[in-house]
């Protein structure tokens, strides 16, 4: 079973929920798809087993073969190629690695060569396999590194996917092959706004959903009403507590230190496994 944890708004508690859920499962795979700032590993402190580079293919032009016909430049719908002084010129960060330029070249002058964009770090802590996607600084597209992280995670029985914030391509990629979505909501106007966005995305992708309300000091009526109207099960409410904040700041996994929160996450895990998401 693959559970994607997402929230829209950053700082709602995706990593908190993902890490504690996987730790509760004991035998699990945790995949950090928040490749721009992968911080789940700060809690796991895994023994690193491997570090594998992630590359995308970009074109390289053989000037001796190129006739200057511009077919590749005209074909590129992403405008990653330009024709200057008789030669095609590439903007690597704009290239989507579609390979179209090499297909349309009548002179066979386009070679596809790898360009590194990130790293996949694999490690373990007790029974949990920790897979971390790390995007190179300055890279514009997170998707290739997310794909590689999901692929490296394999098909173990219980997998928790820690998604990036927002609701764009990187989130869609992270959620695409999940069996269900766990939506972490923050009871604030901003949190609720983004929560609705990721809920709509999950519905569009036909994923069963469940809700965790984090930092839940008091019921936030618009959120409660929305969940009730949409038939969204609220599986866990985590009240704001100084103790949890302290454990988080110290890089500790809360369920390993606090029996009350361990029990709460035990209930969440059972609910997910019993198919309480809808």
């Amino acid at each position: 079973m693959r559970v994607a944890v997402l929230s829209g708004k950053g700082g709602a508690g995706k990593t908190f929920v993902s890490v504690n859920l996987a730790a509760t499962a004991k035998s699990a795979v945790y995949i950090d798809c928040d490749v721009e700032e992968p911080n789940g590993r700060l809690y796991w402190k895994p023994n690193i087993e491997s570090e594998t580079p992630v590359s995308v293919l970009i074109p390289e032009f053989d000037a001796a073969k190129c006739s200057g016909c511009r077919k590749c430049v005209e074909f590129c719908r992403f405008h990653a190629l330009i024709f200057v002084k008789g030669n095609p010129m590439l903007f690597p960060s704009v290239c989507h690695s579609c390979g179209g330029c090499s297909l349309v070249c009548p002179e066979n002058a386009v070679m596809e060569v790898p360009r590194p964009v990130g790293t996949i770090e694999k490690g373990a802590r007790d029974g949990v396999h920790v897979v971390t996607g790390i995007l190179n600084t300055g890279e514009e597209s997170a998707v290739p590194t997310i794909k590689a992280a999901l692929c490296a995670g394999g098909d173990d029985d219980f997998t928790v996917i820690d998604c990036p914030p927002g609701s764009s391509c990187g989130v869609m990629e992270s959620v695409k092959d999940a069996d269900c979505c766990l939506l972490v909501a923050e009871p604030t106007a901003f949190g609720f706004h983004n929560f609705k966005m990721v809920h709509r995305l999950s519905v569009l992708l036909k994923k069963p959903c469940g809700v965790v309300i984090n930092k839940a000091d008091a019921p936030y009526k618009p959120l409660e009403d929305y969940c009730a109207a949409q038939g969204l099960p609220v599986l866990l409410r985590v009240p704001y507590s100084e103790r949890l904040a302290e454990l988080g700041a110290a890089g500790e996994i809360a369920v390993e230190h606090d029996s009350e929160i361990a029990k709460a996450f035990g209930g969440l895990l059972s609910a997910i496994r019993e198919g309480a998401l809808s």
């Binding site: 430049v73 719908r77 992403f78 405008h79 990653a80 330009i82 024709f83 200057v84 002084k85 010129m89 903007f91 704009v94 514009e140």
Partner: protein
């Protein structure tokens, strides 16, 4: 010398955006002729700066007068040896005059692009 200027719908004032400008004014100082061309990149999904730069290159321009310019387009102009000048005010004709009189400064700082973020 051929000079390119991104202009607004009215085709007289300079457009603050280079890549998304609706038109480009192309002025040939030798023949004193001015041409208006539609910018095919105005509604491009991405890479607008690069596509607009291709138009400027293909028109054989030697100079560009613009309010601002992204890094990708600036790289194209560097490769194509096209000089970029910083526009003053908003009147395209006055800027052509100012360039002829040597009063325009070269643009040296480029933005990283907005890429849907702004």
């Amino acid at each position: 010398m051929i000079i390119a200027i991104p202009v607004d719908e009215g085709k007289k004032s300079i457009c603050v955006s280079f890549g998304r400008a609706p038109y480009f004014l192309i002025h040939d100082t030798d023949s004193a002729k001015t041409e208006m061309v539609e910018n095919p990149a105005a509604e491009a999904q991405g890479g607008a700066g690069i596509k607009a730069a291709q138009l400027v290159v293909d028109k054989g321009a030697n100079a560009l007068i613009t309010v601002r310019c992204g890094q990708n387009a600036a790289d194209v102009f560097k490769a194509a040896e096209i000089k970029i000048y910083k526009a003053f005010g908003s009147d395209a004709a006055e800027n052509l005059k100012a360039l002829a009189e040597g009063k325009l400064e070269e643009l040296t700082s480029f933005h990283a692009g907005f890429h849907g973020k702004a």
